[in-house]
Amino acid sequence: MLQSRVGRGAALARLAMRIGGRYVARSPRLLFASVERRSELRHDLALRTADDVAEELGSMKGALMKLGQMASYIDEDMPEAFRTTMARLQYKAPPMSPELATLVIVEELGDAPERVFARWDPLPFAAASIGQVHRAITRDGRAVAVKVQYPGIARSITSDLRNAALLRRLAAAAFPGLDARALIDELGERLQEEVDYLLEADNQELFAGYYAGHPVIHVPNVVRELSTPRVLTSELLAGSRFDEMQRWDQRERDLAAETIYRFVIRSLYRLHAFNGDPHPGNYLFHGRGRVSFLDFGLTKRFTTEDLAPLIDGVRFMVVERDGEAFRRAMERAGFLRAGAPVATETVVDRFGHFYGTVLQDAPMTITPAYASTIVRRFFDARSPLAPYSDVPRAYAILQRINLGLYAVLGSLNATANWRRIAEEIWPFRNGPPSTPIGEAEARWERQRA
């Protein structure tokens, strides 16, 4: 997917970036947060009918916004465009009117929300991708967050995806540097996953089950009997949002960063599943490093074979420091074309960026500047490796995670001995606990065994 970016600058490309920016701006994913957020939703512009939904999100709009969002993770020019767009727009997708949301609940759960739940808040408190989130209390007294999908959106997305010819042209026009077919395939998978909340429920349960009892990582439980393809009911959580946590002292921010880092590494190497959207809106913070992880609409599961090249990469690059072996591993994985006329030390130098946090066994601060350097080098089309490297689609999601993770850790200015933490979790190392959180995690692991 990483190819030269000649031809960039076409009008539609610039527009598509703005589109992507707007999508992110209007879709802060699940923000299980304070009631104040409610005032940010434009209830005065609420969508009142399925026709309104079709107008707002149908006819390629939803698909293209998603495409823009996806490309943002893999396109060098996007992040800056995103920030400016978000600053300019301050825009959120209009929520559904209470009547329209009720209609969906009736269709999905068989009765009006006031009867399905003991208490139902008719005004959503957060926007979600292709839906919105309501607070409710179940009849057995549990506080829950109910994600309700826009009616008709699934059908319209399916129809958009069927128009592959137009989608391919749009993708090629908007992102000339990227492989349009791969992008569309990925888009199709992502959207099909997103429209079926039961898939998300499965993923969320996988994570919730694995992390049950974990000292600092929490994943809200799914309420199965109140979940359907268009309604996802989970445990309601309270906590601080990312921007609030940003104002906490550095010690707290370091702990939060450590937990996020542990979550990403552990999910990949131990659970073999990845929540692929390390977006600041997908966390809730509870202090002392305790973090809740929300929104599993973008999850990828890895097989042992998928993981092998990643494990080899770490082993040869970081632990054994064997450049030739590393290069062969990258070639086997399809990241690097075999026989590329590039010196092995160049390969090591370039791929080394991925391992920047774990190369040294020492505390390291991830600054915003460091994070953006990583992102830039990651997409550097002028890299001597660019003509010979390509990231297979199975790993595209890892790119997102890497970039998102660096962005999050960078904005926290977080310091830790990342290498020691990773060593604890890498299955081929099983290093000793290196921090208090590590100690607690080790106890948790012994108990669950």
């Binding site: 076409a10 527009l15 707007r22 107008e55 006819s59 390629m60 709009k61 749009l170 026009a173």
Partner: protein
């Protein structure tokens, strides 16, 4: 290409209007003119309007449309938007500017040898009818729901639009049927070289990026396919394949273009202003 349209759109929808304008937020005119299929309706309008040799001659000989086709299009669309969503004073001011320009547009058409004047109510009516018929046709096919009764109400409300530029109301068709009957009753219809020339530019405007051009061409084909049979045969255009005319793919095409448009500064905000006033 979309930028001038966006600037015009933002300016034409006032933030603090003195009143509800000529039609008011609950009119059909307000509802119909914010439809996202409007660019397509605009293309079709031009194709119909150009088939009157004298109307075409006025444009060909008195405007710089060729040098800046999108600027010209933006000016026209700004006029329609201001008369629709502007307050009464803004609407009247826009109309008197247009009438003032029209006083200078006169001459002899080379093809028919006839004298023309842009103040001629007959020409103004033709241009009006071409636009209103195109809007009704395109919105009904590709826009939000507009049933036959509302379409008639819309055409009737639009009589005022024609009056604003100097057509006596009694001459202006006030229903969809009357509108189409009128269009087919005009004898002086033909595709002059100037018309063919202009429509060739509409279908493939210069200065489009390659990537947008393909989308634009497809949209042009849909506009061609939506023309009345007589108009299509005058130009000698072939019928586009029927699958190209289906509602869903055309809406997807429009949606893609509209998203690009809506992403430009000020557009979404202007749309929200319209929506909020319509709900109030």
């Amino acid at each position: 290409m979309l930028e001038p349209m966006a600037r015009v759109f933002e300016r034409s929808v006032p933030e603090r209007p003195a009143d509800g304008g000529l039609f008011g937020p609950h009119s059909l005119v307000w509802r119909v003119h914010r439809d996202r299929s409007f660019p397509l309706a605009g293309m079709r309008s031009l194709m119909v309007q150009a088939l009157h040799p004298l109307a075409m001659a006025g444009v060909a000989e008195h405007s710089d449309w060729r040098r800046d086709p999108f600027g010209r299009l933006a000016a026209t669309s700004g006029y329609v938007l201001t008369v629709t969503y502007g307050d009464t004073a803004a609407a009247h001011a826009a109309a008197s500017r247009v009438r003032a320009v029209h006083t200078h547009v006169r001459g002899i058409d080379a093809v028919t040898g006839l004298a023309y004047s842009a103040e001629d109510p007959a020409l103004l009516l033709w241009v009006h009818a071409g636009m209103v018929d195109s809007i009704v046709t395109i919105v009904q096919r590709y826009g939000r729901r507009l049933d036959a009764r509302d379409a008639d109400r819309y055409v009737a409300e639009m009589v005022l639009f024609a009056e604003m530029v100097g057509v006596p109301a009694r001459h202006v068709p006030a229903s969809v049927a009357a509108l189409r009957e009128y269009l087919e009753s005009v004898d002086l219809r033909q595709a002059t070289p100037a018309a063919r020339d202009a429509i060739a530019v509409v279908l493939d405007p210069p200065g489009l990026d390659d990537d947008v051009r393909e989308l634009w061409r497809d949209l042009g084909q849909v506009a061609v396919g939506s023309l009345p049979g007589w108009a299509r045969s005058m130009y000698g255009f072939a019928d586009p394949p029927p699958e190209m005319m289906e509602r869903e793919p055309v809406r997807q095409l429009i949606g893609a273009l509209d998203l690009a448009f809506e992403s430009l500064p000020g557009v979404l905000e202007a749309r929200q202003r319209i929506e909020l006033r319509m709900r109030a």
